[in-house]
C-alpha cells in the first residue's frame, strides 16, 4: 500500500495537470467562438420585410409617349454630368428619335456616325413600321429591348447606347459598352519562360473567349451569375460537362449563391466568401492569371471561376500540391520538370524552416553542426549582443519591409533600391555588429527560396508561418521546431477545400496520383485524371 502511496504525485503535478486540461479547452472555446463570430454572415435568403426595397429596382414601364418617357429618364439619370442625349428626326419616317449614352463608353466613333446616318436618312417605314418586328429588322449586331425604364437606365449607365423612337413603347439598346481597356499582356505575377504569353484581362468576355479559344469542344460550359447586392457584377463558372463531378458543381453553385456582399471588387472577395476555413493560414482556392492554367485544371476536373473586372481567375478545389506546381512543368520535358519540382519542394521547406532551424541550432544545439563551422559561427556572433531570435527577427523584418516596399517602388528605381536595401543594409548590419554574417546567408536563402514558389499567394502562407516557426524554435529549440512541423501537418490534414481533403493526393497514398506530385512522369504514363475529384471520365487517353 505504502508503495502505491509513494507514487502518488505531489500537488504541483496536479496543478500542472489542471493546466494541461484547461489550456486546450480554453483554446477550443476561443476557436469555436471566433469561428462563429467570423462566419456570422447573414444569408441573403432570409427575408427582411421591414427593409425598403433596393432603390435601384425602379420598374417604371415605358409609357409609349416620347416626351413623357424622356422626361422620366431625364429626371432619373439626367443629373449625371456624363449623360449625353442626341435628338434627331428620322427623315424617311418623319418621327423623332433620341440616342442616349454615357460619355466615354463608346469608343467607336465611326460606328456612332454610321448609326446616326442610318437612323436619320435610311431607316424607312418598312423597317420601322411594325413595332414588334423592330428588333428583327434593324441592322445592328447587338440589339436588346429594355422593357422598363429602370433596366434601360441601368444599361445606359453601364455603357450601352440607348435608342428611343417616337411611338415605340420600348427602349432599344443598340451598342455594347466599350470603355477604356488594357491591352492583353503577359501575366505579371506568373511569368514563365516557356508557354503561352497570354494573361487574363479585366474584361470578362475577353477572358471567357480566351478559355474558349483553347480548343474545340462543346463540353466546356460557362454559367453566368449576377453577384453583389448593390453593384452587380457578372461571374462565370467554367467546367467540362463530361468530366466535372456533379456534387462538386452543386457545392460551388450553392456557395456562390450564398455570397452576400454589396460589391465584389476583385476575385479575392469571392475567394474569401466561398472558402472552407477562414481561420486557416493556407489558401483553399487557387488564383491565377493564366488561361492555360485554368483550362488545364478544368480538364483535370476542377472548376474555374472568373469575375468581371479582374484578371485573376479562381480554381476550386485547391490542394496543397497545386501551390508548388507550375504550368511549365508540363511544357518542358519530364526530367527537367521533375528536377525543378523537387527543387521547389526544397525551396518551400527552406522558406518555411530555415530561420527556425538557424535559431534552434545556434541557441540550443550548436553540437549538431560540424565543429569547425560551429566555432566560426560562434566567433562571428561574438559581437552580437542579442539572442538569436531577436537577431533573426531584425533581419527577417527588414527583408519583409524591403519586399513590401519593392512592390510599391516606381519601376525605374526598384532594382536600385533592392540593391541598396539588400546588399548595403545586410553588409552594414554585419559591420555594425547587429547580426552575424552567417545569418545574412540564412535570411537571403530564405528570401530567395520564397520567391521560387510559383504562386504569389502561397508564398504569403509560408512567410506568415515562418515567423510562427521562429517563435517555436526560440522557446524549445529543435524540439519546438518539430512540434511546429507536427502541428502544421495536423492542421493540413484537417483542412478541406470544397470537401476535398487539402493534402490529397499526398495522403492517402494513391499511386495513380503520385505520378504528378514530386515527380512529373512522362505523359505516356499519366493516362488518368487525378482520382481525388471523382470525375466522371477517368481516362485521359486510350
Amino acid at each position: 500500500m505504502s508503495a502505491v502511496i509513494k507514487y502518488i504525485p505531489d500537488w504541483i503535478i496536479f496543478i500542472q495537470a489542471f493546466i494541461a486540461f484547461s489550456v486546450p479547452l480554453l483554446l477550443y472555446f476561443l476557436y469555436t467562438k471566433l469561428y462563429h463570430f467570423v462566419g456570422k454572415t447573414p444569408s441573403p435568403n432570409v427575408n427582411r420585410p421591414n427593409e425598403k426595397k433596393e432603390p435601384d429596382e425602379v420598374n417604371v414601364p415605358f409609357t409609349g409617349s416620347f416626351e413623357k418617357d424622356m422626361e422620366i429618364i431625364q429626371e432619373l439619370i439626367g443629373g449625371n454630368c456624363d449623360f449625353r442625349t442626341r435628338e434627331f428626326t428620322m427623315a424617311k419616317l418623319n418621327r423623332r428619335a433620341i440616342l442616349v449614352y454615357v460619355d466615354g463608353m463608346q469608343n467607336d466613333r465611326l460606328l456612332n456616325v454610321k448609326v446616326l446616318e442610318y437612323l436619320m436618312f435610311e431607316a424607312t417605314a418598312e423597317d420601322m413600321g411594325l413595332p414588334l418586328k423592330a428588333a428583327e429588322l434593324l441592322p445592328f449586331e447587338s440589339l436588346i429591348e429594355a422593357g422598363d425604364i429602370g433596366a434601360f437606365n441601368r444599361s445606359v449607365l453601364f455603357g450601352h447606347t440607348g435608342l428611343i423612337i417616337e411611338g415605340f413603347p420600348k427602349g432599344l439598346l443598340i451598342e455594347l459598352p466599350d470603355g477604356a481597356n488594357r491591352a492583353v499582356t503577359e501575366p505579371v505575377s506568373e511569368a514563365l519562360l516557356r508557354g503561352p504569353r497570354l494573361g487574363f484581362t479585366e474584361v470578362l468576355s475577353e477572358n471567357t473567349s480566351m478559355l474558349r479559344r483553347q480548343g474545340f469542344t462543346d463540353q466546356l460550359v460557362m454559367k453566368t451569375y449576377r453577384v453583389g447586392t448593390r453593384l452587380k457584377k457578372d461571374l462565370v463558372i467554367a467546367y467540362m460537362k463530361d468530366i466535372v463531378n456533379e456534387d462538386l458543381l452543386r457545392e460551388v453553385d450553392s456557395r456562390i449563391e450564398k455570397m452576400n456582399m454589396d460589391f465584389l471588387a476583385e476575385s479575392g472577395y469571392v475567394e474569401q466568401l466561398i472558402e472552407d476555413n477562414y481561420l486557416s493560414p493556407f489558401q483553399q482556392v487557387q488564383n491565377t492569371e493564366r488561361p492555360d492554367r485554368v483550362i488545364n485544371e478544368i480538364v483535370a476536373g476542377r472548376i474555374g471561376i472568373l469575375l468581371d473586372g479582374t484578371p485573376f481567375a479562381l480554381i476550386v478545389p485547391a490542394t496543397f500540391t497545386m501551390l508548388l506546381q507550375s504550368p511549365e512543368d508540363y511544357y518542358e520535358r519530364w526530367l527537367p520538370s521533375t528536377l525543378l519540382r523537387m527543387l521547389r519542394f526544397l525551396a518551400a521547406f527552406l522558406a518555411l524552416m530555415a530561420p527556425a532551424l538557424y535559431i534552434s541550432l545556434i541557441s540550443f544545439h550548436p553540437g549538431l553542426i560540424p565543429t569547425e563551422l560551429a566555432i566560426t559561427i560562434i566567433e562571428t556572433r561574438q559581437g552580437v549582443p542579442f539572442p538569436s531570435l531577436i537577431e533573426v527577427l531584425i533581419l527577417e523584418v527588414a527583408i519583409e519591409i524591403l519586399r513590401e516596399a519593392g512592390i510599391r517602388l516606381p519601376k525605374p528605381i526598384g532594382p536600385a533600391m533592392g540593391i541598396v536595401g539588400g546588399l548595403i543594409i545586410g553588409d552594414a548590419a554585419v559591420q555594425a555588429g547587429i547580426v552575424s554574417p552567417f545569418l545574412v546567408i540564412v535570411v537571403a536563402v530564405t528570401a530567395i527560396s520564397s520567391f521560387s514558389i510559383p504562386t504569389y499567394s502561397a508564398g504569403f502562407t509560408l512567410r506568415l508561418l515562418r515567423f510562427v516557426g521562429m517563435i517555436f524554435a526560440a522557446v524549445l529549440g529543435m524540439y519546438g521546431t518539430i512540434l511546429f512541423f507536427l502541428l502544421m501537418c495536423s492542421h493540413l490534414t484537417k483542412l478541406k477545400s470544397f470537401g476535398v481533403p487539402y493534402l490529397t493526393p499526398l495522403t492517402p497514398y494513391r499511386l495513380q496520383d503520385w505520378k504528378d506530385i514530386f515527380l512529373r512522369v512522362p505523359f505516356t504514363l499519366m493516362k488518368k485524371r487525378p482520382a481525388m475529384f471523382k470525375t466522371r471520365n477517368r481516362r485521359k487517353s486510350t
Binding site: I19, V23, F485, F498, P508
Partner: protein, 367 residues
Amino acid sequence: MFKRNDDKITASQATIFLTNTVLGAGILTMPRSVTQAMDSPDSWITILIGGFVIMPVILLMVRLCLKFQGQTIFEFAGKIVGKWPGKILCLLLILYFIIIAGFEIRTLAEVGLFFLLEGTPIWAIVLPFIWAGTYLVSGGINSIARVYQIIFPITILFLIVSYGFSLRIFDFSNLRPSLGDGIMPLLKGLKSSILIYTGCEVVMIIVAFMENPKQATKAMLGGIAIPFGLYFLTIVLVVGGLSINTVITSTWPTIDLIRSFEITGFFVERLEFPLMVIWLMQMFCNFCSFFFQASLGVSQLFKVSYQTMIFIMVPLIFLSTMVPKSRQDLFALGDAIGMMGVWLFLLTTVLLSLVWWIRVKGLKQHV
C-alpha cells in the same frame, strides 16, 4: 459533397497505423532489454522467433474483429461476454492505453532532457507535446492516419540511412558464436522480444475503421511485418556494431550505435541528433495512437462525445506521465506494460474468441 465516409481509412493507412502504434520508443531501448535477458549474441534469433509468435496473435485478433464488421472491441466485447464483464474488460484496456501513452511521453521527455534540452523542466516538454497531440487527435482517425502517412516515410528513411552509415562499424564477429549457449537463452529472451510489440491491440480497433475489411488480414500482417523487419535490422546492427557488452550497459543502445561513428565532410558529422529529432515525430505518432484509442474507447463505452473525452483524457495522460519517479521506475514500468499486454491479450482476444466460439458453435446462439 464528396461524401466520403471520413471515419474510414484505406488499407495502406491501416497498415501504417498499426506500424506507428507498435513502433515507438521501444526501438531505442529494445536491443538492451532483449540482450540483457539473454546475455548472448543470439538476440537476433529471438527477435525472429518473437516475430513468428506475434503473427498468429495478430491473425487471431483480425479474425475476431471480422466477425463483427464495423465494430471496435469496445462495442463488441459487451455482446460476447455480457454487458458488465465486457465493460470491465474494456476499461482495463483503456487504462492500459493511458498508461502506455504516459509511458511513451515520459520516455520521450527523458530522451529529450538527456540529449536535447538539458535543464528544461519536464512539464515544459510534456505539456506542449500533449497539446499538439490533442489537436491532432481531435481530427479523428482520418486526420491521424494522414499525418502518419506523412511522417512515416520521413522517419523510416532517416532511420535506414543512419543504419546504412553505421555499417562501417559493423563487425560480424560480434554476432558470433551462434547458439553457443544452446537453446535456453533464446527462451529467456523470448519474453522481452514479444513485449516490444505492445500496442498491437490496436488491431481490434482499426479493423473496424477499414474501408475494405476484406484486406484487413493482409494490411494488419503488413503492419506488423514492418516493425518486425525494423526490429530485426536494429538488433543485428546494434549488437553487430557495439558488441553485447556495450549494449547491456548502455541506456539507449540504438542512439549509442549512431553516436559511435562520425561522418566527416558531411553537413552533420554525427547523426544521433538528427535521428533523435526525427524519431520524436515517430513517438508523437505512437503517442497519438494510444491517446486516440483511449478517448475512443471511453466515448464508445459510455456514449460520451468523442471531443469531450479528448479533453478529459489530457490530464489523465499527464498524470500517468508524471507517476514514474526515476528512469529506473520508467524501465520497470515498461516491463510491467509488456506483461499487462500479455494478460490483456489472453483476456481480450483469447477469452473473447473462446466465448464467441463456444456460444456460436457450441450453443448455437446468435451473437
